[in-house]
C-alpha cells in the first residue's frame, strides 16, 4: 500500500467533518484517490476502518457476527436486539463453523459459540 489504511480513514473523516455539505464530492474524490494511488485492493480494509471510526465516534460498537448458515428472521431479531442502534453489526456466513455463531466486538472481545470450536475442544 502506498499509504496506510489509517491515514486514508483519517483524511476522509477530516474532509467530511470540514465540508459536510460536499459529502458526495468527497466520497467520489476519495475513492478516485485510493485507486489512483494503487491501493484499490485494500479498499475493504479502509472502508471497515472508516466504519469503525464513525461507529466509535458515535459511541457505538463494531460487531462482527459469523454464522454457519443463514438464520431465520426470528433468530436474527433475537440476536440483533442485544445491540443498540449506535452499534454497527456486520453479518457474514462461514459454513466451516458447522453451527452457531462467532461474535467479535470492537475487534477485541470474542465470543465463540460455534459447534466447530466445541468439536475441536472435545477432540483435543
Amino acid at each position: 500500500m502506498k499509504y496506510p489504511a489509517e491515514s486514508y480513514a483519517k483524511a476522509f473523516l477530516e474532509a467530511l467533518e470540514e465540508h459536510p455539505s460536499k459529502k458526495d464530492h468527497i466520497i467520489k474524490s476519495f475513492l478516485g484517490a485510493v485507486y489512483k494511488n494503487g491501493d484499490g485492493p485494500a479498499i475493504e480494509k479502509i472502508l471497515n476502518l472508516i466504519t469503525q471510526k464513525i461507529t466509535r465516534g458515535a459511541g457505538g460498537r463494531v460487531v462482527s457476527a459469523e454464522f454457519a448458515r443463514p438464520l431465520s428472521d426470528k433468530l436474527i431479531l433475537e440476536f440483533k436486539k442485544e445491540f443498540s442502534v449506535k452499534d454497527h453489526v456486520e453479518i457474514s456466513l462461514r459454513p466451516e463453523l458447522v453451527a452457531g455463531v462467532r461474535v467479535l466486538i470492537d475487534g477485541e472481545k470474542e465470543l465463540d459459540m460455534t459447534l466447530a470450536k466445541k468439536i475441536n475442544k472435545l477432540l483435543q
Partner: protein
C-alpha cells in the same frame, strides 16, 4: 772317511735340507689345517648362535603377532557386541516410533470419524443447533452488556 765327507757334503746335507723343508711344509699344512678347523668350528658356533637368535626373534615375532591378533580379535568382539546393541536399540526405537505413528494415525482417524458423525447429526436438524447456540451467545452478550453498563 773322505767318501763319508763327500757323501755328507753332496748327499746327506741336501737330503736333510729337503727333509727339513718337507717337515716345515707338513707342519705348516697341519697348522693351516688346524686353523681352518678352528675357523670352521667358530663359524659353526656363530651359525648356531645366529640360528638361535633368529629362532628367538621368530618366536618373539610370533608371540607378538599372537598377542596383537588376540587384541584385535577382542576389539572386534567388543565392537561387534556394541554394534549389535546399537542395532537392537535402533530397532527398538524404530518399533516404538512406528507404534506411536500408528497410534497417532488411529487417533486422527477416530477424531475425523467423530467430527464427521457430529456434523452429520447436526445436519439432520441444523436450525435447532443454531438456535441453541445463538441463544447461548445472546445470553452471553446480554451479560456482557449488563456488565459494561454497570461499569
Amino acid at each position: 772317511m773322505i767318501l763319508l765327507a763327500v757323501l755328507t757334503f753332496v748327499l746327506f746335507r741336501p737330503l736333510l735340507k729337503v727333509l727339513e723343508e718337507r717337515k716345515k711344509k707338513i707342519e705348516l699344512g697341519l697348522k693351516v689345517g688346524k686353523e681352518a678347523e678352528e675357523r670352521l668350528l667358530a663359524i659353526d658356533k656363530m651359525k648356531e648362535e645366529k640360528l638361535g637368535e633368529a629362532e628367538k626373534m621368530a618366536f618373539e615375532i610370533v608371540k607378538k603377532g599372537e598377542a596383537e591378533a588376540k587384541a584385535g580379535a577382542d576389539k572386534i568382539i567388543i565392537e561387534g557386541g556394541k554394534k549389535a546393541d546399537d542395532i537392537l536399540k535402533e530397532a527398538g526405537q524404530i518399533a516404538e516410533r512406528r507404534q506411536e505413528e500408528a497410534r497417532l494415525a488411529m487417533a486422527k482417524e477416530a477424531k475425523t470419524l467423530v467430527r464427521a458423525a457430529i456434523i452429520k447429526t447436526v445436519q439432520l436438524d441444523p436450525n435447532a443447533v443454531d438456535a441453541a447456540l445463538v441463544s447461548q451467545a445472546v445470553d452471553e452478550i446480554s451479560g456482557l452488556s449488563a456488565k459494561i453498563s454497570r461499569g
